[in-house]
Symmetry: C2
Subunit: 201 residues, 2 copies
């Protein structure tokens, strides 16, 4: 039984996967967890396309690479530390393509207002990532490919109302992942008004 807080504190991006496959039974647990997220008025406006087909997976990884190399990387060169930049480079140019599974997480504007989709679909995505961590799987959330919505939608035969919002690459980590690096909540939390320290000193 994985401890809840252990899972939360170890969940992090994995951008390098082994060749081992992920059985459907594990994916089922991960997807089941995703559907237990809250949603505006419990509309549950999510849809998951689990992609194992090599051509379609390759296409998704290729779109991810194109968006990264077509502009996002250039901006991040001056904004990211070199280690993360190198890791994202490695993911977009090969690591993601080797993940045995890509889950495209979509929001359905036919079942909820489009403006409410992010506050429902991204909590579901987070449940999915946490469940993957709880089962020992590596995962990476990226929204890069969604910048090419038309191309991505065509690959997956998405109806017009179904909007691709995130891609999660899933597989077994190629190497042991280090701990996530985070700024403490103490620097991110304010009391009553922005700028007031949460902890009274």
């Amino acid at each position: 039984m994985p401890d809840f807080f252990d899972v939360v504190h170890t969940q992090r991006a994995c951008r390098s996967f082994s060749d081992d496959d992920v059985p459907d039974e594990l994916l089922a647990k991960v997807l089941d967890a995703a559907t237990f997220a809250p949603s505006a008025e419990n509309k549950q406006p999510w849809a998951f396309v689990v992609v194992r087909d090599p051509d379609t997976r390759g296409r998704i990884a290729e779109l991810t690479r194109q968006v990264w190399e077509g502009g996002a990387r250039q901006y991040e060169e001056t904004h990211l530390d070199a280690r993360i930049l190198a890791d994202v480079d490695q993911g977009t140019t090969g690591g993601f393509a080797r993940a045995p599974v890509a889950v495209v997480v979509c929001g359905d504007a036919g079942s909820a207002f489009e403006s409410t989709l992010p506050s429902s679909v991204f909590p579901a995505t987070q449940n999915l990532l946490l469940a993957a961590t709880a089962l020992g799987l590596g995962s990476a959330l990226t929204t890069l490919a969604t910048a090419m919505r038309d191309e991505l939608s065509t690959s997956l035969a998405l109806p017009d109302t179904v909007k691709p919002m995130a891609v999660v690459f899933l597989g077994w980590p190629a190497k042991k992942l280090g701990p996530p690096k985070r700024v403490s909540y103490r620097e991110k939390t304010h009391r009553d008004r922005y700028g007031e320290s949460f902890w009274r000193s």
Copy 2:
């Protein structure tokens, strides 16, 4: 040690709170969990304003009520089942105002592209909700008050770049919560292309 999958399967909205307060030490655990969410390029573009001040809490609850009664409710009357509608009515007209804590979850467009905020801020919000559940707290995520961004920002003295994206009401549940009602992942999951069943029969 709360089991991860138990927490995921019991997390749900609470719209009715007891009068008991929530100590800072518990809020710290909840906020710490929130900051372990993933974010685009690990920018961690979130900020949390923890509101205990009764006037400010009252203002947030009032904005929530105004947006609900000013239009959202009318639409939902014909789209929601009567039980959820009654529960949201109860929350917006009194339940939320009695929660001892409101956490306003914000995205900082000064530290990440605005378009990437939802995919970072809502995973953090989901970690917050799950951690609350793990500790026995009741919680409700609502974005209603964020529709009145200017009024909400003024109440919290938010800088221009800091965008309020969600409000989480926190406290102890007034009564035992039932299990969340969800459509099975089997009906929400597709294999390789939209419309193809995930489980081959």
